[in-house]
Structure formats: structure tokens, C-alpha cells
């Protein structure tokens, strides 16, 4: 059965979606908002929660995003919009992917490994993306406990080393609040990820507010992680890339037991691997639907997109700083268009009759 149950969706919103925000985002937030880093993140989470609510209201009509567009604007316009949206998803996949690549190479290897270390991911992504998007439901069933265990482990080992007083005084980072808000936009596209899932989610009463609550629960954990991160590193937080791999290593038991925190870090890294592939799969789904769901098209598209991303990752191997600068700077306006405007406006689409 290629449907996503509400439970699986809630697992994604509560457990998987927050994991993408704990790699490079904390240091970027600290760079601009300093000890007030949780506030811009909270604003983004609240906005996304509202948009998740809007998108999930569309579940009831049972139509896919493409069908909603087609019913409202006609075939041609729907194809154009969905292709633009798919392009955005491919673009949005780049940052988490490069982030993950850099993280694996820097944290899991003592010296810079060869490209081979990360390249199997693209093979994996190509296979994963060739599967129907609804298949992600089963993946979330498996990933949710792994994410919970990973996050709980990292937080448990970190809280003892955190000085939460470092978050004071509130307002010290207000000068950089808007800059932090702008930069962080590149990490918040969860509502946009839900749009390609429309038509594949089983409806249940109250799914919109339940989903929103789950997303907010995940957001609360992510915000607590941000607070802990700043508590551990205080003024040096800005220098701490790959946040979730660092906060737990000062746990006093580690000197005796060794880096047991790696078990939890591995768990979160595994969840992130799937999270990174999700925008690509959503992109494949969008294009596939727009072009009539031909046989072999998903396979061809997933191989092509994985190849594009692999090529980009090779070409941009030593240019991550420039990519980050561009994605969170000159190109950041793309995100509000597709992650705020499109999900919000989707409520205006015609949904008067079920498929």
C-alpha cells in the first residue's frame, strides 16, 4: 500500500524534520543572533508550523498538489508551476547534502577522506528516489525511534556541560536578529516538503492540528538543543560547526567509557541521510506526476538528479563556504517564495471535489 498514514506523517514532523536543523544552523544563528539564537529559529518554526497546518488542511480533499494546480490553473500552468517547484526542491536539497557531506568527512574521519567516502550516498539516493514518495511513510516508521534515541542521547549527555545562564541577557543579539532570520530561512522548507505528499496521505479527523502539534513538539526539542548548544559553547558557539556532534563530547563519563556519544551521533546521521534524500525524491515525484507517470521515468529522473547532485558535490568540494554564502545570502529570497508563499497560497487552490 503506497499511502502515508497519519502516524507516519506525525513521525516525520516530530522526529525527522527537526534533525536537519542541528548541523550548521546553530553556529550560523550564533554568528548573527549570539545568545538570542533561539528566537529567530523559533520564529521560523512558528511560521512553518502555521504553514504545515495550512498544507495539512488540503489533505481532506484527497488531491495531489499537481491535481490541485491543474484544477485551478489548467494543465499548462500547472506543469510550469510544478516544474518550478521541483527545481526549488532540487535547489533546497543542495545545502543539506553538502552539509551532510562535510559533516561525514570532518567528523567521522580523522583526516580528510577521499570522495569515495560520501559517494555511495548518491547511489543510495538514486535508488531511494526511484521508489514512490509514499514509500517514505515506512521509512519514517523506522527512522522515528532512531531519531528519538539519537536526540535524547545527545541531549542527555550534553545538558550537564551546558551553562544555560550563557543565554542571558535576552536582547543582547537583537542587532543581528533579522540577519539571523534571513540566513536561517535556507534550513526551513518543511511545509514545502509536504506539498508533494498531498494525495498520498490518508485523511483522519484533526490531522491538520495534530500534525502542527507534532511539528511544534519537534521544534521545541530543536530549540532546546539550540539552547544547550549555546550553553556548552557560549561565545565560541560561532566557531562550532556540526553542532550536534560536539555538545555531548564533554560528558564526564566519556573519559572513562570513550566516545559513547558517537552511537547517538551515528543514529542522527542515519536519519539525516534520509532527510537529505527527501527533497530529491519529492522533486522526482513532482516531475513524474506532471509528465503523466510514465514507466521508468522515476528511475531516469532519480538517476539524473542524483548524478547532477553528485557532479555538484564534486565541483563544489572545496567551495562549500561560497555555496553557503550564496544560498544564505543572494539566493535566500527563493526560500520564502516556495516555503512560505506557495504553501500559504495553496489554500486558495480549488479543492471542491475529491479525486
Amino acid at each position: 500500500m503506497n499511502r502515508i498514514s497519519p502516524r507516519q506523517l506525525f513521525f516525520f514532523l516530530a522526529c525527522v524534520a527537526p534533525v536537519g536543523k542541528i548541523v550548521l544552523l546553530p553556529a550560523r544563528l550564533a554568528e548573527f543572533a549570539k545568545n538570542d539564537l533561539i528566537f529567530p529559529a523559533a520564529v521560523h518554526f512558528l511560521v512553518q508550523a502555521l504553514l504545515v497546518f495550512c498544507v495539512l488542511l488540503l489533505v481532506k480533499c484527497g488531491k495531489s498538489f499537481y491535481e490541485l494546480l491543474e484544477d485551478t490553473f489548467g494543465k499548462i500552468a500547472a506543469k510550469i508551476v510544478i516544474c518550478l517547484f521541483a527545481l526549488f526542491l532540487l535547489f533546497a536539497a543542495l545545502l543539506p547534502l553538502l552539509e551532510q557531506k562535510l559533516f561525514v568527512q570532518s567528523v567521522f574521519y580523522d583526516t580528510l577522506p577521499s570522495l569515495v567516502a560520501f559517494s555511495p550516498f548518491f547511489l543510495f539516493a538514486a535508488f531511494l528516489c526511484a521508489k514512490p514518495l509514499a514509500g517514505f511513510g515506512r521509512v519514517w516508521d523506522v527512522l522515528a525511534p532512531i531519531a528519538i534515541a539519537g536526540m535524547a542521547g545527545v541531549l542527555l549527555l550534553s545538558v550537564g556541560s551546558a551553562d544555560y545562564a550563557a543565554l542571558l541577557p535576552v536582547g543582547a543579539g537583537k542587532a543581528g536578529f533579522f540577519e539571523a532570520l534571513r540566513t536561517a530561512a535556507s534550513w526551513f522548507f518543511d511545509s514545502a516538503l509536504l506539498l508533494p505528499l498531498l494525495g498520498k496521505i490518508d485523511y483522519e479527523k484533526g490531522i491538520a492540528w495534530k500534525g502542527t502539534l507534532c511539528y511544534l513538539a519537534g521544534a521545541a526539542v530543536a530549540l532546546f538543543f539550540l539552547a544547550t548548544f549555546y550553553g556548552v559553547f557560549a561565545e565560541t558557539s560561532v566557531n562550532q560547526l556540526f553542532a550536534f556532534t560536539k555538545t555531548s563530547k564533554y560528558f564526564s563519563g566519556i573519559t572513562v567509557l570513550g566516545r559513547i556519544d558517537y552511537l547517538f551521533i551515528f543514529a542522527l546521521a542515519l536519519v539525516m541521510a534520509f532527510y537529505c534524500a527527501m527533497p530529491v525524491q519529492a522533486c522526482v515525484e513532482c516531475v513524474n506526476e506532471a509528465f503523466g507517470r510514465r514507466p521508468y521515468l522515476p528511475t531516469l529522473l532519480s538517476v539524473a538528479f542524483a548524478a547532477i547532485l553528485f557532479t555538484l558535490s564534486v565541483l563544489l568540494d572545496y567551495r562549500f563556504g561560497e555555496v553557503l554564502f550564496a544560498v544564505t545570502g543572494a539566493l535566500v529570497w527563493v526560500y520564502p517564495v516556495f516555503t512560505v508563499l506557495v504553501p500559504a497560497l495553496s489554500l486558495l487552490l480549488r479543492r471542491d471535489h475529491a479525486k
Binding site: P169, N239, R293, P295
Partner: protein, 391 residues
């Protein structure tokens, strides 16, 4: 709609690909290190050399091939460069070894490097993702290179002997105040712009003894002076520069104020004779108040028992660990004097060792802006010391 082709892809392929990804992510190249090509750095000593730096690295080498036949063998190599990074590049150039800092657990700053600017010397280590920021950091008398290269009387490598000084037991004794690269950086980059490091000195052992490796050669081995090390003093830093060194009794007072001490000892007097007390409970702290002008309450409440008298005593006295009132009063006096001297010394040096500016910053931005430059000179200390007997 799902193609027939995709439907026939077995689940096994999914599992196989996931396994390949997990293998690639987490194998860490099986943790294999080619020791013939890698310099596993145990410790570094940083000194100023003209406008640049001199870096002495202690590198672990395979056992049995060098100075010792057991324990940890090491060689020390000194390189020079405009920056610490240049020194490491030079190390690679002259040895052919790729420097590996993952196992570096000690960074020692020479006196000149610490006085000029510790964070200029530490810049490389703060940037390096492969350097553990939990590594111990210390300042030392004279040249760090000489300290790192010196022969220890108690261990094969000087760095291993030095890190023993910073064990949990040493910290609880209050004899030393270790610091890590991470915490030293947080203190420096915070509102207080101050910090402290243990101050190392090498103490040459009386008489010259044979080096550990030399003794195996039989007859006429190289005579190397052996050293033990002390870290009972504490170097104070302000704006990254070493500004003063606290003597052992003030280091102990600072440890007490941080609430670190358990089973540490200090001496008081009874009728002019020394009495050693053991600290069993330590509750110390420094709290800032801005009401009616800035003031700080330095409070110490320690519970002690009698550990040792400097004189012979009746067996009934030996059997008792009750501390006489006179000794408690003397202990309070001793600790109050140490805390007072510590406060005045750090204030004179411009080092906010109690992180009062940070407290003020966290409590009120407005008051911090008003007082940040004048807080230390203006602050009035109130010292409250209470020493009680365990029984």
C-alpha cells in the same frame, strides 16, 4: 503508478545500498593510521621566536625503536615559522610525517608567548576541526619547548607526566586549576575577557641520573637531567595576556571559591604550631551586587576535620578528628587572608578571575554598559569565611 521494473527490485538491494552508505559513513577508514607517515602529536609547546613562533611537538613513535623499551616512546621536534600553522608545515617538510593532532592532549604556552598574546598562539588550534578542544592547556616558566623536551623522572614522556598533574584527584585536592582550550577560549571571548591557566615549572631532581633509555645500553649512557613538574601556581590572563601568577595558597583559595575541593588539605595554627586540616565539604562562590555601588561577596563555607598535627600528641588526641575552636578560627583567618590577597592581586593585574563582568553582563546590559570599564577598580569585596568542624 509504479513501473513493473521497480516493483521487481528486491528489498535486498535496498538493504545492500543502506549498508554501503553506513559502511562509507562510519568506517573511519577502520581507524587505521600509517604510523610511518603520520606524526601522532601528544603535546605541543609554543614559544615566541622573533616575530614568529617556535613550536615544539612531542610525537609518539613506535615502541622499542627509540629511547625507551617500554611505555610511550616519543621524540620532540622543534620547528619555526611565522605562525603556528607554518611551524606544523615545517614539521611535515623536515620529517615527512603528516602532523595528526587528534591525540594532542596538552598545549603549553611559553612565558613569552603567554605574555604577548595567548590567543595569537592558540588561533590555529581554535580553527582546527581535528584538534580536540577539550585538550589541557597550560602556561609555563621560561620556554615551553624546553619543558616539553625535558626528561621526566616519573614517565617516559614529559607530557604524560604533566597531564598526571591535572587528574581529577589533583583538582579535588585544590592544588591545581586545570583548564581546557574550550573553557579558556569561552572565558576570553566572554564579557570578562579574562581567564586562568595552570602555571607549570620543571623542578630538576637532585643529582643527574641516567635517562630511561640510556640505562639499557650498559655503561657510559648519556646522562640526562631528570625533572618533576609542578602546577600549583596559576597564571592569570587579561585580554589574552599573562598578567600575573598566583602562588599555591591563592590557587587553593580560588579552587575553594569554585567549590572544587574535596579531601584537599591546608594548614592552620594552634598555639603557634602547624595543624593540617582536610576539607570535606566546600561551598564557595562570588556573587556580585550593584545595590549602592558595585560589591562582591566572596563566601566560603568549608567543613573540615583534623588531618595532622606538627607535634607529637597523646593517643586520645590521635584518635579524635575534632577540630578545636582555636584551629577553626586560625583556619578562617588563613583562608580569609588568601581570598583577600587573591582578590586584590587579580584586581591589580586587571584580571576578572571571578568573572564579575560576565555576571553583570548577564544580569543587565544597561549596567554592564555603564560599568564594564570601571567595575574591577570600583568594586568593594566582602569576604565571608566560615570553617566548621565535621564533628
Amino acid at each position: 503508478m509504479q513501473s513493473r521494473f521497480l516493483k521487481t527490485i528486491p528489498m535486498k538491494l535496498y538493504v545492500l545500498l543502506a549498508a554501503v552508505v553506513i559502511f562509507a559513513f562510519f568506517s573511519n577508514d577502520f581507524g587505521l593510521v600509517d604510523i610511518q607517515k603520520t606524526a601522532i602529536i601528544l603535546a605541543v609547546g609554543i614559544d615566541r621566536a622573533g616575530d614568529g613562533y617556535s613550536l615544539t611537538t612531542q610525537i609518539a613513535v613506535p615502541k622499542g625503536s627509540d629511547r625507551t623499551t617500554g611505555g610511550t616512546s616519543s621524540v620532540e621536534i622543534e620547528t619555526k615559522g611565522a605562525t603556528v600553522s607554518d611551524c606544523l608545515t615545517e614539521l611535515e617538510a623536515v620529517t615527512g610525517w603528516v602532523p595528526k593532532l587528534v591525540f594532542c592532549n596538552l598545549v603549553v604556552l611559553g612565558e613569552d608567548a603567554a605574555k604577548e598574546d595567548a590567543f595569537a598562539a592558540l588561533n590555529y588550534f581554535l580553527r582546527n576541526e581535528y584538534m580536540p578542544d577539550s585538550c589541557l592547556i597550560a602556561a609555563c616558566e621560561g620556554k615551553a619547548g624546553e619543558l616539553i623536551s625535558s626528561q621526566s623522572a616519573i614517565d617516559d614522556a614529559s607530557s604524560l607526566a604533566i597531564t598526571k598533574l591535572f587528574s581529577d584527584a589533583s583538582v579535588k585536592s585544590g592544588a591545581t586549576l586545570p583548564n581546557s582550550l574550550k573553557d579558556f577560549a569561552i572565558d576570553h571571548y566572554g564579557a570578562s575577557e579574562s581567564g586562568y591557566l595552570p602555571y607549570l615549572r620543571a623542578i630538576r631532581q637532585e643529582g643527574e641520573q641516567q635517562a630511561a633509555g640510556g640505562s639499557q645500553g650498559g655503561g657510559g649512557g648519556e646522562q640526562t637531567p631528570q625533572n618533576i613538574y609542578t602546577a600549583q601556581e596559576t597564571a592569570l590572563f587579561s585580554k589574552g595576556k599573562l598578567v600575573d601568577v598566583l602562588p599555591p595558597e591563592q590557587t587553593f583559595a580560588l579552587s575553594l571559591l569554585q567549590g572544587n575541593v574535596f579531601s584537599g588539605t591546608f594548614s592552620a595554627e594552634e598555639k603557634g604550631e602547624p595543624v593540617t586540616l582536610t576539607v570535606l565539604e566546600d561551598d564557595g562562590g562570588a556573587s556580585l551586587s550593584m545595590d549602592g555601588g558595585p560589591s562582591v561577596k566572596l563566601s566560603l563555607r568549608v567543613k573540615v576535620r583534623l588531618c595532622c598535627r606538627g607535634l607529637a600528641a597523646p593517643i586520645e588526641d590521635v584518635a579524635s578528628d575534632v577540630v578545636p575552636q582555636e584551629v577553626l578560627e586560625s583556619a578562617e583567618r588563613v583562608l580569609s587572608e588568601s581570598v583577600g590577597a587573591l582578590f586584590e592581586r587579580s584586581r591589580a593585574a586587571g584580571c576578572d578571575v571571578f568573572f564579575l563582568r560576565r555576571s553583570l553582563y548577564r544580569s543587565s546590559l544597561r549596567r554592564y554598559a555603564e560599568w564594564k570599564d570601571d567595575l574591577l577598580p570600583a568594586i568593594v569585596p566582602h569576604i565571608e569565611t566560615k570553617v566548621v568542624s565535621m564533628h
